[in-house]
Symmetry: C2
Subunit: 461 residues, 2 copies
């Protein structure tokens, strides 16, 4: 994503630079600082965090203890767009203690009784833009925010049904409207915790970047395996899919200026001052110019999914709030995503117009009931940043998974090798199973998560 | 829908009255003023419009001319909730003339050359509340609004691809950002016309009701067959489904305070003054009371799909913006739907708090590509108001369709008979194919639209 962001930011409106030629095929691993997160005993970690003075040391989501960890496999490459990799990853075991909401004595209790109450697994990909700072902070912070949010509701999560009152206090009046409760499930609390964790992490990033004088933002794609379910939380344009023998199922959807057009236009309709008179909220099939004045042209406003015609007025000639299409679509001419973390300081070039009010840090969360699947050994979840999906479709990735795994059953590193294979398939090699030799010039990060072992390992407490 | 609305409006917060017992089975058609819209030469019309002084005469969507019409079959019953039926229906042939957008000479041209340029079919169901006035106005008006909106874009609809400029004027500058156009399809113009027609009709209803000192609102479900496609536009809690031999496909989704919770809470977050300090925006599993103060209870805000816990403050004890669940969910304690037409004057009982800002008149439009289906003779679309769907599931309706039609192939009125059968299945008869004897006490309207004849007839120009 970030490549496009840079291109558009410094070449607004201009043609894109010619793509770089594919790397020579003789060099099998020609990328700078690739790093493989293999689980075999190495403990959880953050991938490819550059050694910058401001980068925090890699911390484990499991309170710094080295825990057995071999459930997720990743490969990350740096496309050499920038000195430091803007893609960041984190994974680890998620250990949730028993902790009552906000009470001082609980923190004491936690210190005295540090054993885990509920354990799960955590994988996260962050695709930065405007520098790696936000992605590094997110990789170092989000799991802690999530653990805290989960600990605040864990008593409800382990109940057969989360109680209305966390304290167990119950009101039973005679008036039925005060008695009947909506049926809320444990998974609703995990979804709520993920939503709150993203927001908390966004606030932390905002404060840290401001304090250190840095800038930037990142997308965030998180998978959490907990109590027999896999939760996928997405804010941005990364993607996770489930690949099984006979099924390919998207587990996330992308949030871009195009997919969130109506929300973004609606906000500009409610708060027109956000555009400072420099942009038009309306969408047209292309940028309008003086010759179009007075013509009846196609347009869409915030309440419309269809198109209509209108007479072009002078204000319609302004730069569009959302411009371009597909990978080139930009919010305020600047940003290619509409959800993510950071970007608190981001402004439209040479103006005071802020991007942040249009960005949401709230993820969309989907739930996969792993315990209900009849899992096969080669059922996997593939998580990857947009660089992969620009070049490979869900079906192409599924074909690569299905052609690779059965022939490598004895290889203990086969999921890692598969992650490598997926990335290599985006580097213009036309002899792979996809056979079309498409090339990605973006940073790419991939997790391959085998569900079979997940189903066996996760979920207990 | 309206039954619930009345109940809750006059008994706020109280228990619902006991349901009326089912009608005696010996009386096969015991309802007041049922009316069957059979197509055999009777021409288009509006069903069951009461003879009120303010009710306009029934007009045909086809500019008042009697046209051959036998493509839609409806049955409407009045559940005797009110003197006049709050359910209204309209159907007819939709004849769209060639008309340039807004120009004076076009109206002249239309008068001189009145022949149709494009024809389609139109079916609409309106479920009123607070009286039948809005539903009657909608049944008499919406098709005219739609015809007008379609005539404004018809030149674009019949082009291979709708032109950016309706006038055909083309700008070809050298800068690529002014050249590349988004690919917009003819169906996007029809969707836009439906969206605009609903809004226009809503404005007409607002003006007419104000001028005549009447009140009320209605839901609207519209199907339009045009150029080989079926467009289903829905604002409210009616529903349309496609029933085929091996497939049941929803063609609409319902808009209620529950399904639109986040949009409604978001609006109250942006404009808290809309609640006048009388309601809380937050959702809780049940209404809170004094005993809950200071407790940690489950809640949801506008940005949350999941649930979390919070300490109850005094402001949380206010009546919730959305209260109740399922069929009992109410917006501001008053209304069971969140989209529709009318309600411009509707206020929360004994307050000045308006409902209208929370209601959308914009429909959601889905498109069924009829030409791409391999149609069988018994493929139908069933459109019905919520009274039917309260009692029968999509699958139950499909079973009734599949068991009824094959045995009645020779009956020229079989689609009408099927509409009757569907309604009779909601009146507590336990000997029908559904066998569960559920009872609906709401007005019910049903259209059964055979697609096979549609596919053969519609689409030309």
């Amino acid at each position: 994503m970030s490549a496009g962001w840079f291109r558009r930011r410094f070449l607004p409106g201009g043609p894109l630079p010619a793509p770089r030629p594919p790397r020579p095929r003789a060099s099998p691993v020609p990328y700078r600082r690739p790093r493989f997160l293999r689980g075999s005993g190495s403990g959880p970690g953050t991938a490819d965090a550059p050694r910058r003075p401001d980068a925090r040391p890699v911390r484990s989501p499991a309170r710094g203890r080295a825990l057995p960890w071999n459930a997720g496999y990743a490969e990350i490459i740096n496309a050499e767009k920038s000195e430091f990799n803007e893609d960041q990853a984190a994974c680890g075991q998620l250990c949730i203690g028993r902790c009552e909401f906000g009470a001082e004595e609980d923190r004491e209790w936690l210190t005295l009784c540090p054993e885990e109450f509920l354990t799960g697994h955590y994988w996260a990909l962050f695709d930065g833009h405007g520098g790696p700072a936000a992605a590094i902070l997110a990789a170092n912070t989000l799991h802690s925010c999530l653990r805290r949010q989960l600990e605040a509701v864990v008593e409800g999560m382990v109940a057969t049904r989360p109680p209305m009152h966390l304290s167990g206090h119950c009101v039973c009046p005679s008036d039925p409207q005060f008695v009947e409760e909506k049926g809320i499930r444990a998974e609703d609390l995990v979804i709520g915790a993920l939503e709150s964790a993203f927001q908390e992490c966004d606030e932390v990033i905002g404060r840290e970047l401001e304090a250190s004088g840095q800038v930037g933002g990142c997308t965030a794609l998180v998978a959490v395996s907990l109590q027999g379910k896999l939760y996928v939380a997405n804010a941005g344009d990364s993607r996770a899919i489930l690949v099984r023998k006979d099924e390919v199922r998207p587990l996330s959807s992308e949030f871009t200026p195009e997919t969130e057009r109506q929300r973004i236009q609606q906000l500009a309709f409610v708060y027109p001052e956000l555009l400072a008179g420099e942009f038009t909220r309306l969408e047209f099939p292309r940028r309008l110019k003086g010759d179009d004045l007075g013509q009846k042209v196609l347009f869409r406003d915030h309440h419309m999914r269809g198109w209509s015609y209108k007479c072009v007025e002078k204000s319609d000639l302004k730069y569009p709030l959302i411009h371009g299409q597909g990978r080139q679509a930009r919010l305020l001419g600047t940003l290619a995503v509409s959800r993510g973390l950071g970007d608190h300081q981001l402004r439209v070039l040479d103006t005071n117009i802020q991007l942040k009010p249009f960005l949401l840090s709230v993820p969309q969360v989907t739930v996969l009931d792993v315990d209900q699947l009849e899992l096969q050994e080669e059922d996997v979840v593939v998580m990857a940043t947009d660089g992969l999906w620009d070049v490979l479709s869900n079906e192409q990735v599924a074909r690569l998974v299905r052609s690779f795994l059965p022939g490598n059953r004895e290889d203990p590193h086969r999921f890692s090798e598969l992650a490598q294979t997926l990335i290599h398939s985006t580097q213009g090699k036309d002899d792979g199973p996809t056979g079309d030799g498409q090339v990605s010039y973006d940073d790419i990060s991939v997790f391959v998560i085998p569900l079979h072992s997940q189903g066996q390992r996760s979920g207990g407490h």
